[in-house]
Amino acid sequence: MKTINLKVNGKIIEKTVEDNTILASFLRDQLNLTGTHIGCDTSQCGACVVHLDGKSVKSCSILAADANGSEVVTIEGLSQNGKLHVVQEAFKKHHGLQCGYCTPGMVMSAVDLLKNNKNPSDEEIRKGLEGNICRCTGYQNIVAAVKSAAGKL
């Protein structure tokens, strides 16, 4: 057991965690931030992507204890003052989601991608989202959404 201090979606948190608790489970079970989803057990699907100190990470591959002292933003922390983030808005406009399960991870990955590449080509978007599996959309509308949000961040 370890006591950790971190900032999650702007809130300062102090919690005790088991040594083997992954960040994804910590967010879901201890903070009730169930927008971060778990879709696999091999760090392949990307449903659990969050931002850790400003970078996208698969929260299933990080121990909660190792996030001590960090700042975490989850899908719940992306929209501000009830207004959707431009990437969220673009996903809505371009029908970039269907069942919604991969969506939080996909959106968090897309935000990070656009932070690092202001004007990505289709190919760069497709490569950039290779770590996020979506079974519903066939990715085409996700690519369109990300492209339309480029430069608006």
Binding site: L33, T34, C40, Q88, K92, C99, Y101, L129, T137, G138
Partner: protein, 792 residues
């Protein structure tokens, strides 16, 4: 309000919650005092269970109980059922083994459920599961689809592992037609086994209320009403009227969440037995092992053709792998959803389709996106392509020559196709794909050392399942009608209840669009409610591209009843006869006058029926208060979406890598309610179909171990595997429903595997099986060039 919602690209009502992390899936739900469950699964493909010893496990900290087949029997919990009776050609009924919710004396696939361990925490349940000792006597597994009938019988009562030997069509007449053929084209094909892989793994929470004696099951289901029916009527867990099934937000299904699973039965029963909430969430590898798989056919087919390209007859012999047990829809998928569709959209005068359903020691196989129709389409489209090539005819022209051209058309097997224009969508697709310049593109690829191929798939499917009269006569235990309820609230907004379930299909939006147009109420004042057996009327769920054609029609019928009643009330209020009232854009009007009432005023009036001072009752005599109507709709026929898909691939002969460079589809789905959502459905289906053709394969080794049981080993299509799809439509409205819709959810997955594979075969000039992985393609190309150089 103008009639403009139907056909409009309306943004989805359901998006905001999913985009902000507020979706509520089963695993997100936590109940007070809940316990955690882990299933103990068989590590062997086939074994006798000698003993299960949970004594050590039960003593571990936090363990509440370990339940096995023994306790199931104590409580008389029934086994899982196959919902569709198939008769063999010798007149005998299909043979299915018992399928207990927890294995009794034998296990029959890796992942078969043996026991449930329930503890205070998940970790404690996992630790205790490791401490349960199951003593197995391992037996030789039957794995191969092709060899199943020549292998040792898995079940004593089922010789040759044969569940059924089903025949559709006339064998003798077909043979006769073949004798007059100029050419008989033969093909042996395999339809590879797939794992559906909805991104949300299955989950279930059982919750028993000892005070009301009500049992609630939260589950990842496409079909909560049917789950409740089956779990109460057949598994005898709890009576239906005190049993509530809730399928909240569900993260994709693709067929794999149609049927109640053993875990649903066991979790519900355990919660009742322990009088405590029990929560189970499947892990991904567990999903690979225990979700029902899809496809897995081995087929030999032959086409009789004349020199001029006219098809004379078709023979199809298929072995369909059912896995270790017969799942709920397992027996209908390779028979009635497959056999009638082997004719494709061609005018084939005579045919037969023989399917042998076999048991093997693999995960049960059931409906997966398209269910039977992708297998039929793959067979006929690969065969037709080969036939055109063998008689030296252009593949598009060969198809056109044999298309059904007049409607309605009674096919020689089962279906009566109401509408279509197949030449129209093929011509449009040829234009969109720039077919006439293909040879130029091929030469350009060749100049870069690449092989380029083009492949066609012109398909038809039967959707809108299913007319009760038709399917019950064929052996289905229930007809697949659908229900809807329109409930006007006194303030004028509307709650719409449907028996279908949306898990990505966007019903919240499309169904609201229909109601908005029909009743003239703004879409934001319409709420769709589904997924809870305590809320709306009994319904049949979502699969088989049925929700709009059948469920949407039920909604239309309920709306019509609302308008009928509204007219009576408006007539009384406006002091005219109901025949003098028109309803338009949300208003009941008396033409050529200024008399009118809005539907909101009528709804309010219906809830205030008495006389109050000067105000007289708005209700005519005999009209009940309230404004709520229910409709059950049983379709008169299937609907028949069809289309033409054209795929171009480029192959690197040095690596075998196959790239889909362009993919064009022109589909006829009848009328579209929301084109944006339809396009999304096409994209998703294409990704799954192209995935089947090039990447995905559930591979069992000879001992029955699933080698591809994680995303490290099972190749899921990713964003960089696809080009931008080119999409077009034609429209011949369905005549079988008032919306004129045909269904679009499965088309992509049905049409695309043969389009891709025909392109690959065209590029490399040799037969190859799915998935056409780089290794396989490289070997095929190399083998061919070796043979060539030897011959030289």
């Amino acid at each position: 309000m103008a009639s403009s919602m139907i056909g409009s690209k309306v943004e989805r009502k359901e998006d905001k919650k999913f985009l902000t992390g507020k979706g509520r899936y089963t695993a997100d739900i936590n109940l007070h005092n809940q316990s955690y469950a882990v299933f103990i699964r068989s590590p062997h493909a086939r074994a006798k269970i000698k003993s299960v010893d949970a004594s050590k496990a039960k003593k571990l900290p936090g363990v509440i109980d370990v339940l096995t087949a023994k306790e199931l029997q104590e409580d008389k919990i029934g086994g899982l059922i196959a919902g569709w009776k198939i008769m063999s050609q010798d007149g005998t009924e299909m043979k299915c083994p018992p399928h207990p919710a927890l294995a009794g004396d034998s296990v029959n696939y890796v992942g078969d459920h043996v026991a449930i361990v329930i503890a205070e925490t998940l970790q404690q349940a996992k630790d205790a599961a490791d401490a349960v000792q199951v003593d197995y006597k391992v037996l030789k597994a039957v794995v191969s689809t092709k060899d199943a009938m020549n292998s040792e019988s898995i079940y004593e009562s089922i010789p040759k592992n044969l569940c059924f030997d089903w025949l559709l069509g006339d064998k003798a007449k077909t043979e006769q037609a073949f004798s007059g053929a100029d050419k008989v084209v033969k093909l042996d094909i395999t339809n590879n086994r797939l794992v559906p892989n909805a991104m949300e793994p299955r989950a279930a929470i059982g919750d028993y209320n000892p005070s009301s004696e009500e049992l609630t099951l939260y589950t990842t289901s496409q079909n909560p009403h049917l789950s409740r029916l089956v779990i109460s009527a057949f598994n005898a867990v709890h009576p239906e009227h005190k049993f509530r099934v809730i399928a909240p937000d569900v993260g994709g299904g693709f067929g794999s969440k149609i049927y109640p699973y053993a875990e649903d039965v066991v979790v519900a029963w355990a919660a009742k037995r322990l009088q405590r909430p029990v929560k189970w969430v499947c892990e991904r590898t567990e999903s690979f092992l225990s979700d029902c798989h899809g496809r897995d056919h081995v087929t030999h087919c032959e086409l009789a053709v004349k020199k001029d390209g006219t098809i004379l007859g078709l023979k199809v012999d298929t072995i369909a792998n059912l896995g270790g047990y017969a799942s709920l829809f397992a027996t209908v998928t390779p028979t009635y959803l497959y056999g009638p569709l082997v004719l494709g959209l061609y005018n084939i005068p005579v045919a037969y389709c023989n399917v042998k359903g076999v048991f093997t020691n693999t995960a049960p196989v059931d409906a997966y996106r398209g269910a039977g129709r992708p297998e039929a389409t793959y067979m006929i489209e690969r065969l037709v392509d080969k036939a055109a090539k063998e008689i030296g005819m252009d593949r598009a022209e060969f198809r056109k020559r044999n298309f059904i051209k007049q409607f309605p058309h009674q096919q020689c097997l089962v279906h009566n196709i109401d509408s279509g224009d197949y030449i129209a969508h093929l011509n449009k697709a040829l234009d969109l794909a720039d077919y006439k310049n293909f040879e130029k593109r091929k030469a350009e690829s060749r100049s870069r050392g690449k092989l380029r191929g083009i492949g066609f798939s012109t398909y038809i499917e039967a959707c809108g399942i299913a007319p009760s009269a038709a399917v019950m006569s064929l052996g289905c235990g229930v007809g697949l009608w659908e229900s809807a309820e329109i409930r006007f609230n006194p303030t004028g907004n509307i709650s719409v209840f449907t028996g279908t379930h949306s898990h990505g299909q966007s019903h919240d939006t499309t169904f609201a669009q229909i109601v908005s147009d029909k009743l003239g109420v703004p879409i934001e004042n319409i709420e769709l409610i589904h997924g809870d057996t305590d809320k709306g009327p009994f319904g049949m769920g979502t699969y088989g591209s049925r929700s709009l054609a059948v469920g949407g029609t039920a909604i239309v019928k309920a709306c019509d009843k609302i308008v009928d009643k509204g007219k009576k009330v408006a007539a009384k209020m406006l002091e005219v006869s109901p025949n003098d009232i028109d309803f338009k854009n949300g208003e009941f009007i008396v033409p050529n006058s200024n008399k009118k009432k809005t539907i909101g005023e009528i709804a309010f009036a219906c809830y205030v029926p008495g006389t109050y001072g000067e105000v007289k009752s708005p209700l005519p005599e005999g009209v009940e208060p309230g404004l709520k109507e229910t409709a059950f709709y049983d379709p008169v026929n299937f609907s028949f979406p069809a289309g033409s898909h054209i795929c171009e691939v480029e192959i690197d002969p040095d690596t075998g890598e196959t790239k889909v460079v362009t993919y064009t589809c022109v589909d006829d789905f009848g009328n579209l309610i929301n084109p944006m959502i339809v396009e999304g459905q096409i994209h998703g289906g294409l990704a799954q179909g192209i995935g089947q053709a090039l990447y995905e394969n559930a591979y069992y080794d000879e001992t029955g171990q699933l080698v591809t049981a994680s995303y490290m080993d099972y190749c899921m299509p990713r964003a960089d595997n696809f080009p931008e799809f080119r999409i077009g439509y034609t429209c011949t409205p369905a005549t079988s429903n008032p919306l004129g819709v045909k269904g679009c959810g499965e088309a992509g997955a049905i049409a695309s595997p043969p389009a891709v594979m025909n392109a690959v075969v065209d590029a490399i000039g040799t037969e190859i099986s799915m998935p056409a992985t780089s290794e396989k393609v490289w070997r095929a190309v190399n083998e061919k060039s070796k043979t060539k150089s030897k011959a030289a």
